[in-house]
């Protein structure tokens, strides 16, 4: 029964979205209700499945011996699926208002809803081949979303995006094929030793996979697509390029590192050193890059690049504490960055401006939006009582526990990056609320907070941000269990 539910949860949004392409409801409310109902229904199904506990691996189609499409639900999948399914309905609500006057709404919402199904497919996949198939589909269905505005800038962004993610997936395919040949069929924590292969070859294959999947997780030499793709409509940048797509990259690397290759065999090898170094270099450099960025959303995109590497750093420490912290940051960063992007989108939608220096004084006109933004910014920096603090705290502890030179440099980088983060996010708050008087652009001009459809999702994400920050216990216990292999 729950097997069927999993398949329904994946297919429902895909088919529901496809219907909008074929014959969309004529009236605007009709379209909105259709989208919202599909999103909510899928979320409810996902939660029914999740609350029932883990689901063993089951095959839906076998290409040939060992190569099969199969689904399962384990702890990590629960985390990612639960996170995605809580966010999608709210951001869809936000998108109604944001895309209010835009063209081609049918196409937009069609792909937007379809992406939900594909993302769930990534969560539920039981082996690396299935993961790869959905991962690739996720790249493809999101391309029309990036190019949505159809102007030269977004076409360019679309091309760059496609080039990077498809190229990365091609590299990952090498790893997928090699590992599928040698491993047992489904993901198990602790992975496989690959003792049939020469060690250096195994590590090379691992690194190819790391960088291949790392393209979506925006590790350093391959990060440029993410800021470029921020020309997309805000619901896309928020949900896809801060959570679903980029986290699917991190998710894939978690699967690869902890469930396909074994952390014991990777620990202390040159492959781990390379991966850790790349992640802490990325996290500090891209935070530094965000300081120089003047476009509001692109600045947040660089911040995403930095925060994704926090997660990778945690995962690549290869101890359970680091893995837990990485997962926690995946969840918390999703919540925080979502609220930040939605606030940025609210400002851009209300004012039609998109550069940071154009914010001067806007906080007094849009107090709610910028208060929510400030809470998100503080959380991202790592101020206690907000959830960003919890994951950073655990990352630091894990770094100290790993006790290698790399982990110490990494934790130092983490602190530096957190400081940069404070500057690049809080400088927006300061501009908004405390403008230097002669630069107050919005004095006496028309600018208000957006309507409830935009404010509600932001408010909810902010509330979750605070709640998780004050009561992180249950979530952290759950993540600890995942890392220990109990769930």
């Amino acid at each position: 029964m729950r097997n069927i539910l999993i398949i329904i949860a994946i297919l429902l949004p895909i088919l529901g979205g496809a219907r909008l392409l074929v014959s969309a409801p004529k009236s605007v409310p009709g379209k909105r209700i259709w989208c919202e109902v599909i999103a909510c229904a899928a979320s409810v199904i996902v939660w029914i499945v999740i609350l029932g506990g883990p689901v063993g691996d089951f095959t839906v189609y076998s290409f040939t011996r060992g190569y099969r499409i199969a689904f399962q639900l384990d702890g990590l999948g629960m985390l990612f699926a639960g996170m995605v399914s809580l966010m999608w309905p709210f951001v869809t609500l936000y998108a109604f208002e944001y895309m209010g006057n835009a063209e081609h709404k049918n196409v937009f919402f069609a792909f937007y809803i379809m992406t939900y199904g594909v993302a769930l497919g990534v969560c539920f996949s039981a082996n690396i081949l299935t993961l790869y198939v959905f991962y690739e589909m996720l790249s493809l269905v999101t391309i029309p979303l990036v190019t949505h505005y159809q102007n030269s800038e977004s076409m360019y962004a679309g091309r760059v995006y496609a080039g990077y993610v498809i190229g990365g997936a091609a590299a990952a395919l090498i790893t997928v094929m090699v590992t599928t040949m040698y491993t047992t069929p489904s993901f198990t924590l602790g992975g496989h030793s690959f003792h049939e292969l020469p060690e250096n070859f195994m590590l090379l294959i691992y690194l190819i996979g790391f960088f291949g999947f790392g393209v979506k997780a925006a590790v350093m030499p391959f990060h440029r697509w993410l800021p470029t793709a921020s020309v997309a409509p805000t619901p896309v940048t928020a949900l896809l390029h801060a959570v679903a797509v980029v986290n699917s990259g991190v998710f894939a690397i978690m699967r690869l590192t902890w469930y396909v290759f074994s952390p014991q065999h990777l620990a202390g090898t040159w492959a781990q050193k390379v991966a850790v170094t790349v992640s802490f270099v990325t996290l500090v450099l891209s935070a530094g890059r965000a300081l120089r960025e003047r476009h509001f959303k692109r600045r947040l995109a660089y911040s995403t690049v930095s925060n994704l590497s926090y997660m990778l750093f945690g995962v690549m420490l290869l101890n359970p504490a680091g893995y837990t912290a990485g997962m926690a940051h995946m969840l918390f960063h999703g919540v925080i960055k979502m609220s930040l992007f939605l606030c940025a989108g609210a400002f851009m939608h209300q004012s039609g401006r998109s550069y940071v220096y154009e914010i001067n004084g806007a906080g007094k006109k849009m107090p709610l939006t910028f208060t929510f933004y400030t809470l998100g910014a503080l959380s991202l920096t790592g101020i206690p009582m907000l959830c960003g603090f919890i994951s950073k705290w655990n990352l630091l502890l894990a770094g100290a526990q790993a006790g290698t030179v790399y982990s110490y440099i990494g934790t130092a980088c983490l602190i530096v990056a957190a400081f940069f983060c404070a500057i690049y996010t809080l400088s927006v708050t300061l501009r908004a609320f405390f403008p230097v008087s002669d630069e107050n652009r919005w004095k006496g001009k028309e600018l208000t907070d957006p309507g409830w459809r935009m404010l509600l999702p932001i408010g909810i994400f902010t509330a979750v941000n605070v709640l998780l920050g004050i009561f992180p216990g249950p979530i952290m216990d759950f993540l600890g269990k995942i890392a220990a292999g109990v769930i």
Partner: protein
């Protein structure tokens, strides 16, 4: 229970106050005052409960499972006294702000909200039972107090606010790192459990422990105003409203000190290296602050620098406590790790009581002095010494209060500052006396202590000198502008109302009270938890008096020779002789953050993928793909030929566009000498720019149908999925 009320009540009342403030300003103001006085009553109650040894359910509170490692509130002598000081400061400053803000009633809703929230957070720090709770409330008060600095929203205030905020955040993060290291090293952050947790693992990881200690020291030091992270202090005070300055300097710096003191006592009590670090940083802070205050010509800036200097005195006391304890342990051949106030030896307890008394004294002194400065500001609306000169000539009450502040802070015998400063001086001298080979303080280091002792005395002298400068300027001399002097003299008695008088004059009476031995002796015993710790201390003995008098003598000399001769022009005008470029923030921190780091990062980034090479390759590949997908020729040869043609075409275009790009870049740098090409300059585009744009347009249209191809690809993938579903159903 009581502690929880003390901490959380102001948060709730603050929000209520904000809501009230939307309706009526008068009710809001009185409500804020009432809240702070309720808080004062509660903390008096807390102190009495502690003295009587009341039930622990009243005093202690544990909330497990919040934040990273639970939250706990504790109350003992030290904490409850400081809670009382905090509440008293808040009650008095809020009372004072009633009159102070009458002439600029803007943004007061926000001000009162954040003042009350900060009160709650400060109580949270002062009553915290573990470092995590301290840290949480510390961060909250950093952020809420930031709005005080910004309050007036002038250019200067905003600049100072930025400095304050970023220093606070750096401090928070460094502290964060330190706590993580400490947590990993000891497995607990509870103050009470730290000493025992430490003894088990101390030997293995003392290096990491020291690193944690330095991080914590710098983190809390940011708020305390310790060198080298003091830069916010002299800038934030002159621009903040006077009541806020009193709180910033009187209590918020003590929050930093609280963290340093508790960490030191519980973790590093025997760590001589840590002790030296604190001692040296404290000495530098003490001297630098005094020097800056000496040079300053702004009333509130002088007081701010003075705060920094007094913080240095307190840090010196903490450093000496550690050294004296380490010294004692070395002699008794211990090796056993001690921690907590109870394990202080006799000398160390004396040093500690000096430290704590100086904390209390300094809070009270700065309350009085900053409020007096506030009276000056609200009447004369200036802070520059030359403008406010002669302001207080016939204002007796203000004059007496300021004079009491002067004698209190500079350590004149029988007043409060004298006792604490003498105790701190005693600590240094007993360190010198106890020095011996093989101990924590070697004989060679005793020489260093001699130097520190002299710096201590000179700094004390500077205190006297700059306070004398302020007093003589404001209350004795006449203004150069005689009309202004007339206005000052005419103000008569209407310069402050009853509430402000109570605050300024009432506090100054305390200085005499706190200078009496039974009073400060009792406070010291209560705070350190050592009954009768100061019984052997003779404040009026020859040694003590002579130390005080040397200091005062140096001060008088400095005033007469240095200030009157060097820091004043021939026309008897106070001149700002401090070189403007000599400013740590402008010299180092700001360029570091705004110029050097971005430049370094930019260079590294342009090597790592931020240049467009990879993007161009991707784009070129995609272009080739795009242009070959729609071809439907039957003949494979034709297809291949078409591919080749397109590929060649694309390659030529690519080379052309890259070539022109390179040429443009070259010409920009050399012939054209342009900095930025703006949209407005379209008409003046060079030949190369135009050519490049044409070429771009050409191949741009070739690739425009790309997203449709991608849509088809998606549909194909979905079809595959449909087939899969078909299989499932057939099974």
């Amino acid at each position: 229970m009581l502690t929880a009320l003390l901490v959380f009540l102001p948060f709730g009342f603050g929000i209520t106050d904000y809501i009230i403030g939307k309706k009526s300003e008068k009710t809001r103001n009185s409500f804020a005052v009432i809240t702070t006085f309720i808080e004062l009553a509660l903390s008096v109650l807390l102190l009495l409960t502690v003295i009587r040894g009341g039930a622990s359910s009243l005093l202690n509170l544990d909330i497990p499972h919040v934040f990273a490692s639970g939250m706990s509130l504790r109350a003992d002598g030290f904490r409850s006294v400081y809670s009382l000081v905090t509440a008293l400061m808040w009650a008095f400053t809020t009372l004072f702000s009633q009159e102070y803000f009458r002439h600029e009633p803007e943004n007061l809703n926000r001000y009162y909200l954040f003042v009350l929230a900060t009160l709650g957070a400060t109580q949270g720090v002062m009553l915290s039972g573990d470092l995590m709770t301290t840290f949480v409330f510390f961060e909250i008060l950093s952020l809420t107090s930031f709005t005080w600095v910004m309050h007036e929203e002038t250019q200067g205030a905003i600049r100072a606010g930025y400095t304050y905020l970023f220093i606070a955040i750096i401090g928070g993060l460094v502290l964060f790192m330190g706590l993580a290291l400490l947590q990993y090293e000891t497995g607990t952050l509870m103050y009470a459990e730290l000493p025992s947790a430490l003894s088990a693992r101390h030997a293995a990881g003392s290096g990491r422990l020291l690193a944690a200690g330095i991080c914590i020291l710098i983190g809390f030091g940011c708020k305390a105003g310790m060198f080298p992270v003091h830069v916010w202090l002299p800038k934030a005070h002159p621009v903040a409203p006077a009541p806020a300055s009193a709180l910033l300097s009187g209590v918020l710096t003590k929050v930093g000190i609280y963290g340093i003191l508790m960490t030191t006592v519980e973790v590093f009590l025997e760590n001589a290296l840590f002790g030296w670090t604190v001692l040296i940083l404290g000495t530098i802070t003490m001297f630098l602050g005094a020097l800056l205050a000496l040079f300053s010509v702004n009333l509130k800036r002088t007081l701010a620098c003075s705060s920094m200097s007094q913080i240095g005195f307190i840090l010196t006391g903490i450093g000496m406590t550690v050294l004296l304890t380490a010294q004692g342990a070395g002699e008794t051949a211990g090796g056993t790790i001690v921690g907590g106030f109870s394990s202080l030896g006799h000398h160390a307890a004396m040093a500690m009581s000096g430290t704590m008394l100086h904390m209390v004294n300094h809070s009270m002194l700065k309350l009085c002095l900053f409020c007096a400065a506030g009276v000056v500001v609200m009447n004369a609306e200036a802070l520059d010494l030359n403008e406010i000169r002669g302001f207080g000539r016939n204002k007796t009450l203000l004059k007496i209060s300021f004079f009491l502040g002067l004698v209190g802070i500079s350590g004149v015998p029988m007043f409060n500052g004298y006792a604490s400063k003498t105790l701190l001086h005693e600590a240094i001298t007993s360190g010198i006396h106890e020095a011996g080979e093989g101990a924590a303080i070697t004989l060679a280091q005793a020489h260093d202590l001699h130097v520190i002792e002299w710096i201590f005395l000179i700094s004390g002298g500077c205190t006297f000198a700059y306070m004398l400068k302020l007093f003589i300027c404001v209350f004795v001399e006449k203004n150069k502008d005689l009309r202004k002097q007339e206005v000052f003299d005419k103000a008569g008695k209407s310069y402050m109302n009853a509430g402000s008088t109570l605050v300024v004059f009432g506090t100054s009476i305390l200085f005499i009270l706190l200078g009496q031995k039974p009073v400060f002796g009792a406070i010291a015993s209560l705070m350190t938890g050592h009954a009768g710790v100061l019984e052997e201390f003779r404040p009026l003995s020859f040694e003590c008096i002579s130390g005080g008098l040397i200091s005062l003598g140096i001060g008088l000399f400095l005033y007469l020779v240095f200030i009157r001769r060097v820091l004043m022009t021939r026309e008897r005008v106070y001149a700002d002789r401090w070189p403007a470029w000599l400013d740590l923030e402008e010299l180092l921190y700001r360029p570091l953050l705004t110029k050097w780091l971005p430049a370094i990062f930019g260079t590294i980034l342009s090597v790592f993928g931020e240049n467009k090479v990879l993007t161009r390759v991707c784009r070129g590949l995609m272009m080739v793909m795009t242009n070959t997908v729609p071809q439907t020729g039957e003949d494979r040869l034709l297809k291949k030929a078409a591919f080749m043609v397109f590929y060649l075409f694309a390659a030529v275009l690519k080379v052309l566009s890259m070539g022109t790009d390179a040429l443009i870049m070259l010409s920009r740098k050399t012939v054209l000498r342009e900095r930025v090409i703006t949209g407005k300059a379209q008409g003046t585009l060079s030949f190369f720019h135009k050519k490049r744009d044409e070429i771009r347009e050409g191949y741009g249209s070739l690739t425009a149908n790309f997203s449709f191809a991608m849509m088809f690809a998606c549909i194909g993938m979905l079809l595959i999925l449909g087939v899969i579903v078909f299989y499932i159903v057939r099974r």
